[in-house]
Symmetry: C2
Subunit: 202 residues, 2 copies
DNA sequence: CGTAAGGTATACAGACCTGTGAATGCAAAG
DNA sequence: CTTTGCATTCACAGGTCTGTATACCTTACG
């Protein structure tokens, strides 16, 4: 029932083109609304080739999300590894990455969007989406830990919420600069958590 | 091109049933993925009746979102009007409402989800979604103002981000109690903004 | 030279999609 | 009693959807 996802790095030239076209169309037009015919046509490829390379639309969707996750992770990892940054600044670096990212992705989080369209929890999209959020959360936790912040786990969850909220708000109300707001709020929470001040009381 | 949306409060019995069925199916299965045939069948109604009442699927979708927004607004307005609450507690009351809401809506924000599926900015869904976010933002601002908080506008935007993030995270990673985290964070930000402490520095 | 892999081209199956047409039953309100 | 509104049944149009079948071409490589 569930074919395996091809490695986005070892694709034939046509498969590359298909994946790139599909990525754009899926993100901009929605997964369900975009048919394989359009993807094939816009890739300069026949539908047969598409199915030869990916086997099914579901696998193509999963590859799209996986590939997108890889690109996003790479961007974030580059941002947090900037040697110019202090340990504290590193914690908010993902928000800088997000600021760049949304320039080309104003329609919200592709993983959240995919979840909205694919309710079946068995669909590989759910695994990819959940994993991405978990990854971001542990990254925040690790960075907070490296910056000697009290309660890194709690702070990480707060930052992830802010992060997701900024992405969603960007899609719904672009007139609000939600990414900057989220980053400023993150900075504030971090500063508060470093100065050994009163922490959050449940 | 754009038929008008019927008032969800003055519907014939059949239309009510159609709207309720559609609401469930759209939210749980995605808007594009759910066809009018299923909606009609599950409502015990013929497709013709559906089209007599709503005119098009797009209008049905818009009515679904509008009706959902009305229910959500009502829930929030009830929560913030609780006479037991102090002015400060009122500011976080929408998060309490959210906690109840997600019990029956674990699949994220219906408006954000709709935006993900309907990229056309002319679609009425965009108006409804943007308006809902704007409404929530001004509500937060008003509540913050009533609680004599410095910079109510800034705080409101932060709270909206937290709010949306909690909703999105709930859908992606239900194992994290994101609503509680968001509410606690909100309380913290509010407390910080009331004690005339250092505010956010850009 | 021979073979295999990647790709092209066209057609098709079978299901589902939104939306319409035409005729009819039924009940309440004027 | 008749109009009006609501709902019904059945059939259909015209597309689009995913996925497959058949047959051919081109290039690389051993």
């Amino acid at each position: 029932m569930n074919a395996k996802i091809p490695d986005p790095n070892t694709l034939t030239p046509s498969a590359r083109r298909i994946l790139e076209t599909a990525s754009t169309l899926f993100y901009e037009g929605g997964i369900t609304a975009v048919g394989v015919d359009v993807i094939a046509e816009r890739s300069g490829v026949t539908k047969r080739t598409l199915y030869n390379r990916f086997g099914s639309k579901d696998v193509l969707v999963a590859t799209y999300l996986l590939n997108r996750e890889m690109r996003w992770r790479h961007l974030v990892e580059t941002a947090v590894s900037d040697p110019e940054l202090t340990a504290i600044e590193r914690v908010t670096a993902p928000f800088d990455a997000l600021g760049e990212w949304v320039q080309q992705s104003p329609r919200g989080c592709a993983f959240i969007n995919a979840l909205a369209e694919l309710p079946d929890p068995e669909h590989p999209a759910h695994r990819v989406a959940a994993e991405e959020k978990r990854w971001l959360c542990s990254l925040f936790e690790r960075l907070a830990n490296d910056a000697h912040i009290t309660n890194p786990a709690d702070l990480a969850k707060q930052l992830v919420c802010l992060h997701e909220g900024a992405l969603a708000m960007r899609a719904a109300l672009p007139e609000i600069d939600s990414v900057t707001i989220a980053k400023d709020t993150a900075r504030y929470l971090i500063a508060a958590a470093t100065t050994s001040s009163t922490n959050i009381r449940a």
